[in-house]
């Protein structure tokens, strides 16, 4: 099956990258078309996460990935976090993290060694940011062990920062953001479970699930606290978790994190998904001090009041009311939840109303995005899926699951979502146990492509060959909080959403699908200090760059 898919991918990619253009979609009712071009792009190295049977929970989480322009040459490069391969109680291979340079011709070249980022700890996630204000993206890699901060030297190489902030143990999601408007980026790092390597190597699958013995957790394992590090401005970071109000008092099992302005007061708030526990929503008072308001805001639990197994998350303004909504991916046989932002930190569960239940109930979901994939102005949802138990393949038919699962693509049709996963090209037929997701335009054609990390397999690189339902704009404005585009008939708002997905990094530029228009009458950028930049009569299908 996979061979057939890869062959189809290759054929389509040759057609499209040779300049013939996207394949016609006349025979299907989905405008979306994705082709997996990972193999021909040179992305053939697998990323590991434990052994075949996976008796310890650490072997379930997979690894993240980042689409970012490390060499500032204008295209998106790919960083893949790697774990270890285990053979029962032995370490068979310490996987190295991998950095691939986008060569601009469809190929990605492994530059790990030259760049100096090939650490071989058991990596889990990644985030990018600018720790020293030199406009070069630095890297922070979370690990089962000691996290590493790499400073970008601007010559294609990185150096590990000697006193890197770190959460010792199994850290997961992380995000760089300026919490206190002092001009530098602070760092939040999520912790998941406190475990030792010995516990991982000698774990036994003692939990009975669907009549099968599987790994224990997360209940039964000790939680690991989240940490917040303030950037002191001189290359050092100080752990200010408690005084910033970000103490993880419940030691909940945290995965994905995102910094974004949820209430329009121009500071960045923080959302953290928690596995099997209420999610955290931290309101920023503007000075980098936070208050946890998840429970009463309605964004910690589902509409029934239940804590879910929060894995990944995405954010975006689905209803164009100026406020970003939240989407949280969850476990098998539990829906992923859409929290509509009503303003003033009030959220309501609108999952059923938007038609999201059926497509998200059976998959076990991880990295996700709210992105306009067809340029009609509406945000689509993509979800990377895969079970945590390899034993799922032996589960009774009633479980309706498997370790490797197809990813899900939901088309936005006027505010309701239609599952077009089965008719959106060969890229959606790839079946792996997927985890991380990074979104960005890898081939400079203006639409968003998707990079997906898979457990014990190479990544999937889904090139977007979809039918265009409109024109587009890409806006490179790293400090801006929000972009508003008025096209005459409607207004589109896109927010700065830092990190999100699942332990992964999306391209930081704003992307807007505009619908059918050839000019934008008015475009407004908003910065955290309240200043705005207004442009009128803007051309479309281009990248706009703003620096302050």
């Amino acid at each position: 099956m996979i061979t057939r898919i890869r062959a189809a991918s290759l054929l389509l990619s040759v057609i499209c990258w040779a300049g013939v253009g996207p394949v016609s979609l006349a025979a299907t009712d989905s405008p979306l078309l994705f082709v997996d071009v990972a193999a021909e792009a040179g992305l053939e190295a697998p990323t590991w996460c434990g052994g075949l049977e996976k008796p310890h929970l650490l072997e379930s989480g997979g690894t993240g990935l980042a689409l970012f322009d490390y060499d500032v040459d204008g295209d998106l490069d790919l960083f893949l976090v790697n774990g270890w391969r285990l053979d029962r109680t032995e370490i068979a291979e310490r996987g190295r993290n991998l950095l691939y340079r986008n060569e601009g011709d469809g190929l990605f070249r492994d530059v790990t060694e030259r760049a100096g980022v090939g650490d071989d700890q058991w990596g889990t996630g990644v985030t990018t940011g600018d720790l020293d204000g030199d406009r070069l993206p630095d890297l922070f890699v979370t690990s089962f062990g000691t996290d590493i901060l790499y400073r970008n030297q601007g010559d294609g190489t990185f150096v590990p920062v000697a006193e890197s902030p770190s959460v010792e143990g199994w850290s997961t999601g992380a995000v760089f953001f300026d919490s206190d408007a002092d001009g530098d980026q602070d760092l939040f790092v999520a912790g998941y479970v406190d475990a030792t390597l010995e516990e991982v190597l000698f774990a036994e699958p003692t939990l009975v699930w669907e009549g099968l013995n599987v790994m224990v957790g997360p209940f039964g394992l000790d939680g690991l606290g989240n940490h917040f590090f303030r950037n002191l401005g001189d290359g050092r970071f100080e752990d200010v978790t408690k005084e910033s109000g970000l103490e993880d008092v419940g030691l909940f099992y945290s995965f994905a994190v995102s910094a974004l302005d949820l209430d329009g007061d121009r500071d960045l708030d923080l959302y953290v998904t928690n596995d099997s526990n209420p999610n955290y929503l931290y309101r920023n008072n503007g000075a980098g001090v936070f208050e946890e308001v998840g429970l009463w805001s309605g964004a910690a639990l589902d509409g029934m009041g239940n804590a879910q197994a929060g894995m990944g998350m995405a954010a975006g303004d689905l209803d164009n009311d100026g406020l970003p909504d939240l989407f949280v991916s969850n476990f098998w046989k539990d829906v992923s939840t859409f929290y509509r932002n009503l303003g003033d930190f009030i959220f309501e569960d609108a999952t059923l109303e938007l038609g999201l239940r059926q497509s998200t109930y059976l998959p076990l979901s991880w990295g996700t995005t709210l992105s306009d994939l067809d340029h009609d102005g509406g945000l689509e949802i993509f979800i990377a899926n895969g079970h945590i138990f390899p034993q799922a393949d032996q589960a009774p038919p009633s479980s309706q699951t498997s370790f490797r699962q197809a990813n899900v693509l939901l088309l936005n049709e006027g505010g309701r979502f239609v599952d077009v996963s089965d008719r959106s090209g060969p890229g959606l037929e790839v079946v792996e146990s997927s985890r991380g997701l990074a979104v960005g335009d890898i081939d400079f054609d203006g639409d968003l492509d998707l990079a997906v990390s898979n457990v014990d397999a190479p990544p999937t690189l889904l090139r977007n060959d979809s039918e265009r339902r409109g024109s587009w704009l890409m806006i490179d404005a790293p400090e801006a909080l929000r972009v508003t585009v008025e096209t005459g008939s409607r207004q589109l708002i896109r927010h700065r959403v830092i990190a999100a997905s699942y332990v992964s990094v999306n391209d930081e530029r704003f992307h807007l699908g505009l619908g059918k228009t050839d000019r934008v009458p008015k475009l407004t950028l908003l910065w955290p200090d309240g200043s705005q930049k207004v442009l009128t009569d803007v051309g479309v299908d281009r990248v706009l760059v703003f620096r302050r």
């Binding site: 394992l221 000790d222 939680g223 909940f252 308001v293 029934m304 009041g305 804590a307």
Partner: protein
Amino acid sequence: MTKKVSLVVMAIALVALPTMAQKTPEKVVAAYDALANIILDMREAEHDFVVAVLDGHMHGAKMLFKKGDYEGAAAEMALVANEGDNAVGGVRKRLLEGGHHFNAEGEEQGIFEPGYVVVNREAKKKMLAASSALRQAKDDVARKAAWDDFAGVAKPLLAGE
């Protein structure tokens, strides 16, 4: 605490047990009886403890509501619904990790969430809805309605009805 109790019982047993026991010594039976009281009282103590936590949040909600701090009141109401804040949730998580389920049968029947002692699922949902309604209320009539909805659920729960 459990370890201490175990040590006391073992010490008494070692001292009191004859080499060829025909009858369990009275001291051992008395110690076991005392332990039984502790075990049986533990359940009631846990219930009372959680009710005390919720009483605190209920009182806080009432005071803040009277003061006109509706966001604060709504936050306290949500904490009653959630059977305490995240710190209490952390303790609940530890108990679950240790295999302790206060309402094991109720959990199996879907009435209680794992680890919850007093607040059942239905009550939780109603109190969260009331908290959200209070946050969104535009006038005093709507605020009072939200409070009444909340109190109508919370008061009987805390009274053990």
